[in-house]
Symmetry: C2
Subunit: 221 residues, 2 copies
């Protein structure tokens, strides 16, 4: 029974990792679709959401049956519940990638903005947070997880800056309202992806140390 449980847990971790890599790739594709005005790529992201949703259900069911049948205690239980939370967060990131892809399809139909907006830089920062949160999970690296938490403010700052900048542009030139709105919504989705990467980093810390870091961090800011 004991050995069985740990084999199943290993398999569960493997599946979560696969899910993580797929979501990472999806977010990256959504951003590339926007930057390269590539509608084929954007449509791939939208269509690919079903696979992510299916993977989420599988991992969720496997995790819950592992708790029910294996009845893990202490550390093992913490690992399984963390995996279930990370799973939910990854699925939500997938939804945000779809939102970005859908908005990028609108942006492509409109003329290119003449002003440079820091959206590519923001996207890179958010994507790096996701990559590092997943690496922290794979290697149980609490230090790396902590570094992810510190970078959330940077992404928030980008988002505020982009918002302000686009509002001003729209006020000056109402012909860009459609593009501007879509870019603001894309920024908002990137910010949510960074928040979810933050959640994953918090879960990695909880998983390794059994300490609840949610909200406490927020309160310190």
């Amino acid at each position: 029974m004991e050995r069985h449980f740990h084999e199943d847990l290993k398999e569960l971790k493997q599946r979560l990792l696969r899910m993580g890599l797929l979501v990472e790739e999806t977010v990256e594709k959504a951003i590339q679709a926007l930057l390269k005005r590539d509608s084929i790529l954007a449509n791939q992201v939208v269509a690919g959401d079903k696979v992510i949703n299916q993977l989420e259900i599988e991992i969720d069911e496997m995790g819950h049956s592992l708790i029910a049948l294996g009845q893990p205690m202490a550390v093992d239980l913490r690992v399984v519940t963390s995996i279930l939370k990370i799973n939910t967060d990854l699925e939500r990131m997938g939804d945000h990638a779809v939102n970005i892809a859908e908005r990028s399809l609108i942006v492509m139909k409109e003329p290119v903005l003449k002003t440079h907006i820091h959206l590519p830089e923001m996207a890179q920062a958010a994507l790096k947070m996701l990559k590092d949160a997943l690496d922290a999970f794979v290697n149980g690296d609490v230090e790396l997880a902590r570094s992810v938490l510190k970078r959330d403010d940077e992404v928030d700052d980008y988002n505020d800056e982009i918002y302000q900048q686009i509002v001003e542009l729209m006020q000056k030139d109402p012909s860009i309202v459609k593009t501007g709105m879509s870019l603001i919504i894309i920024g908002h989705n990137l910010e949510r992806i960074a928040d979810l990467a933050n959640n994953i980093a918090e879960d990695v810390i909880y998983m390794k140390q059994g300490k609840e870091v949610r909200h406490h961090i927020e309160t310190q800011q």
Copy 2:
């Protein structure tokens, strides 16, 4: 042990219900703050988020220790894991209420829009979904839960309509860009609240019937 577990589970349900009522009240206040241009109410919502966050952590910890110590099987395990999911969803709704309150503070500083936007109607529909999802949880009412799922499209339609309407208004009159942007973001937050009410309704169905309804519903649409 057995009796102990069921007493603790009853207490856990009570706490979740308290959390649910608090979040419902918070969402209602955020909407009232917007409609009545009441900055005191808006600031109350923002300040009250700490209490919701604290409650979430308490319920989360209680639920996990109940799984670890009580080692529930089948139905009982399903109830506890559903409570944990609903807890997360409620906390997220609290965050959306804060977003609405913050945006309403911006809207209050700008002139009133001359065109009627269906935001109050959308807010009522989303709030009713939340109320019914909580009632379905309390009474284990699967039929009511199913009726919540059916109403998600209505809220999405309001959101699309509001978005289109405001984009047109902003294109015609750039002086309303700030208000328009904030109203669109409020609409987006209401839509997310309706999605989360949907999640709760799905969890109620899962809790009562052990059937996974997530994503399958989405695919049918």
